[in-house]
């Protein structure tokens, strides 16, 4: 299904989705930088790459939106995020830790495991 996305790529796309949903507006580089706690230089570099590879739309000095391709990945990662978080809470992990851990785990979970967790969450 995936064609080798890095954790970092997934994180950028996911945060664009999240930030966009908060405001319903295109997203700025600084928002992303502050969300992911990286410098604006890092964001600029990443956005160049994501743009070239067709995951986002953005012109020089312009704001950022996800393309269809980017959106699909972002949604995918974010749904894992939510499902894992939910699951962690259900087995007794604190909100704070659940939020922190799922940000890392979301990048390393197979589709099969994702489905199993989803099922588990439903049946409880």
């Amino acid at each position: 299904m995936n064609e080798e996305l890095t954790k970092s790529t997934e994180d950028y796309l996911e945060s664009i989705l999240i930030l966009n949903r908060e405001t319903n507006e295109p997203v700025s580089s600084l928002q992303i930088a502050s969300f992911l706690k990286v410098t604006k230089g890092a964001v600029a570099k990443a956005m160049n790459r994501l743009n070239q590879e067709g995951y986002i739309d953005k012109e020089l000095y312009g704001q950022i939106t996800l393309t269809e391709k980017g959106l699909e990945i972002a949604k995918n990662v974010y749904s894992k995020h939510k499902e894992i978080k939910n699951f962690l809470i259900k087995i007794g992990v604190s909100l704070e830790t659940a939020e922190k851990d799922c940000c890392l785990l979301e990048h390393n979970i197979s589709d099969e495991t994702f489905l199993a967790i989803k099922k588990f969450n439903k049946n409880l």
Copy 2:
């Protein structure tokens, strides 16, 4: 608890532990390379670093053993590995996927989440 180990460092230490338990002998570079599917050059470089940082004992052209410090980390990671694998199997993930996924997840799980999973495994 941890002082910033990378995934790669944890993987090397864990595989030394696993390989050593299989044979009860010190471990060779090639064994590690084949276990982790990296080149022997990569192993050599990593072993130099781990040696300098006190995680393994090894002399030039010699075999590899974990120091106390290295062993502690290896055991820690490996116990997460086993617990996560167990857990995945319990929620219906196939053996194969469970093994693959837990190799990644083991590096990203907090102590709190680890304990919760452990508890979950016990009470089922």
